[in-house]
Symmetry: C2
Subunit: 534 residues, 2 copies
Amino acid sequence: MYARITAGIRKAILSGQLADNSRLPTNRELANLLKIDRSTVSRAYLELSQSGFIDSHVGRGTFVRPLAQRSAPRPTESNIEALSDSALNWSDKFSESSRTSLDLISRQPAGTNQHDMISFAGGIPTEEFYPNDQFQRIVSQLLKSEHAAEMFGYSAADGSPYLRAQVKSHLQSHGIECGDDELLIVSGSQQGIDLVTNVLVDPGDLVVLEDPSYFWAICNFRARQARCLPVSMDDDGIRLDLLESYLSRQKAKLLYVMPSFQNPTGATMSLPRRMALLELAKKYQVPILEDNFVGDLVYRDTPLPPLRSLPGGKDVVIHQGTFSKALCPGLRLGWLVAPPEVTARLLLAKRTSDLSTNSIAQIILAKYLEEGLYSKHLEHVRLCYRNRRDAMLTALSRHLSGRFSEFTDGDSTKFGDRTRFDSDVKSGDGTKLTWSNPDGGLFIWAKLPKGLSAREFLTFAEMQGVSFSPGDMFFLNGGHSEYFRLCFIQTEESIIEEGIQRLARAMRSYLQTVARSSLSELSGGARVRNNVLI
Amino acid sequence: MYARITAGIRKAILSGQLADNSRLPTNRELANLLKIDRSTVSRAYLELSQSGFIDSHVGRGTFVRPLAQRSAPRPTESNIEALSDSALNWSDKFSESSRTSLDLISRQPAGTNQHDMISFAGGIPTEEFYPNDQFQRIVSQLLKSEHAAEMFGYSAADGSPYLRAQVKSHLQSHGIECGDDELLIVSGSQQGIDLVTNVLVDPGDLVVLEDPSYFWAICNFRARQARCLPVSMDDDGIRLDLLESYLSRQKAKLLYVMPSFQNPTGATMSLPRRMALLELAKKYQVPILEDNFVGDLVYRDTPLPPLRSLPGGKDVVIHQGTFSKALCPGLRLGWLVAPPEVTARLLLAKRTSDLSTNSIAQIILAKYLEEGLYSKHLEHVRLCYRNRRDAMLTALSRHLSGRFSEFTDGDSTKFGDRTRFDSDVKSGDGTKLTWSNPDGGLFIWAKLPKGLSAREFLTFAEMQGVSFSPGDMFFLNGGHSEYFRLCFIQTEESIIEEGIQRLARAMRSYLQTVARSSLSELSGGARVRNNVLI
């Protein structure tokens, strides 16, 4: 039924029968008109919205998106090949790497273009903290200084000496001492990962990582045709009992971890776990890539030392960090610290990939660091982001801590019947939303009671004007559909409060739909399915 | 003998017997002292200079380089593994890709750190033309404009819309029309090559390229474990008779060409050859990567159209260009134009490699292009670089056009005996230096008579205070040791004249050494070898 509605409206839009910007009937109106359930209309509208035909604006209604603004559909194996009408049959030319990437990217939600959307998805620092004024002054000064020519010429492949000196002192503040032959400036963390994979991983090699992990790291390892081995985490970080049992049986080429404020869980590896992990890496001769992507965004007094700074860390750890999260991502600047023989290899991989890092951003950042402005910036954003984290935690408690049966307006029995919570739900009693309380970084990790799906929840959330990242995309083998990730740094406290209220409204309508849908399926004799909507 | 001298001096330096900055005897003094040939002393001094122990300054003498300035030796398989003293045995961890890169990089000459060196090596536009003042004004304006936030946030993965629009109109000036789904902004040409390889080439796949070709492209293809097939060139470009005979027997995944002002030869593919190449690519279903790295540096009135702009080009060509050569390399900005289905794949590879391109440089360049300043800049540099090309051609004619026997001070018979020129010398009569006359770009390609070696010549050139790139590094399988590459854009006319004079002096001493060495070997009953010095 919903498919028929979707197709009908799509046809009407494409034929011009429904003009650009014309208003569609509300869910209720269309449901009444067609004598169908509102959830069926919702699903049709969602699909149309995701494929770029319509826009829903909370409180204003649903409109036909103007032709010029219709987003290109997300590329998938089938629709990008359909684009082909050329003398060359490209489709049989693509590498395994490219096929793998295309497969993985489909995990990303399509997202919507709504203007009033409150986004807890992604993980991007906000413009309000970008150091525009300071950079403006710095650029003016630099262009009149002896550094001017450096800003436009090729940088040394291992980075501008000016920036390298500054990054070295910054690293010292994290307890990391490194020699000139142990440091490489890179174009952001993602390039760091790419270079390390390049230098250590051949197709078919084993890469071990926390499960869940950083989406683009998974993509990178997979695109290089690595075999990826997911290792579950507990409250102290990656589970070493599991890790050792794997490593004792298979030779791994790389272990990728984010010990502090992990993406997506926000979790921090305990100090004893860090020490034991280094021992294990040494015992089984596995290099560790320590991704310290939010090492500067700490909201407690005593941050834990990076693996690289611990005894023995120098030998087995490649340490990486970035200015993208704590300062601004447009610089595309990060660093790798590795033993000299590894750094020499990474440097060659860097030259083969893109010769060198952009010079302008390096020189600007070097001066910014030299003037001590980064430290001041960190003091400021740490405070702001801590407040935002607290605001989100408070709002979650205020609006989403009830038992889910309370949301269903009396349909609690049906809802309770359907979800069949099992003992696998780690925290809470399986009838509530649960979430983490991170010590730093960007993310709160949340979990629905088993039987509910974060992807389904997201469709309702986007209709209410709020978004987040569904958790299944971060798990190596997918699944775990009850998890989702909330980024708390992107919006100020009042918007966070409003966003979590929207999330609560979305939860209410999700649960009601689930209850109604379970009821109707039950009454129609159908069996209760795990995923009701999609 | 030379090895004993080298070892003795090295030991004296390391033991402190020869203090930092102390002056060594001249060639003549030491030769007289030890009663040996001056060429033996030269060779010892060269080796010490290349390994970073001493510096030679033309006219001032040779000095012990201070410890702090001694450059780290070039990384090689053996010396970087010798660095290892860690708990992890890294040496068995490295990928095939990394091993391949390390092998190839050893082709690069070590270079020297001499201050007064005139460099015709490399291919880097000079600081004097960097648009410092304009960029300074532009940055100030941008930071107060609506573009400010864009400069520090993540750029869209396919590039800033602002820059994309400007690049599209720039491409139109080259006859290239491309849609929004056919354009990708990349971090310079090298990343363009890396992404195309990523998307099209699996380990073991065949990549066909002109021989000789761009050094870092060869490195990139090899590092991805491609099989590389070199195809010789003639006056019209890559030889299609050879190409077709290869393609008819083997399935190639990529054909990499630089049709205009090729690196290293400076040669331009004729229009009929361009048309025929496209036909061949279609017939054998081989994608072409057209690297138009100096498309804007044309020194004649009517540049030839890029492959992408010719009939049928749209279907089989991935076109790439860069602002690194015509404007300045520190921006790290270039572009790829490809069919939509390919662009979608390249975009994913880009995100997996480094997420997105640095924003600051993109926005600055966009405004620079929008204001029409790039066109004005091109008018200016085209004129300057054409003058420099002419100056180098004139100086070569003036100082290096004689028969080589004229340089040898009467030893011409011995020299003539030794070189045994064969019919393979393409231009000239095999007794002279020959060189190309490029219509654009950066390079003049020169050829010694067969039997002489550009690497040997380089050692003499560096002693005279001038450098160039030995040609063998650009040939896929090495060899062709008689070729070398001169970059004419890096130095103004008077310096070019001085540099070519130094080159002529170096040639004289090279030929004298060869003649003497041949003579002494002949008189000692030894057979004449092809490579006398190294």
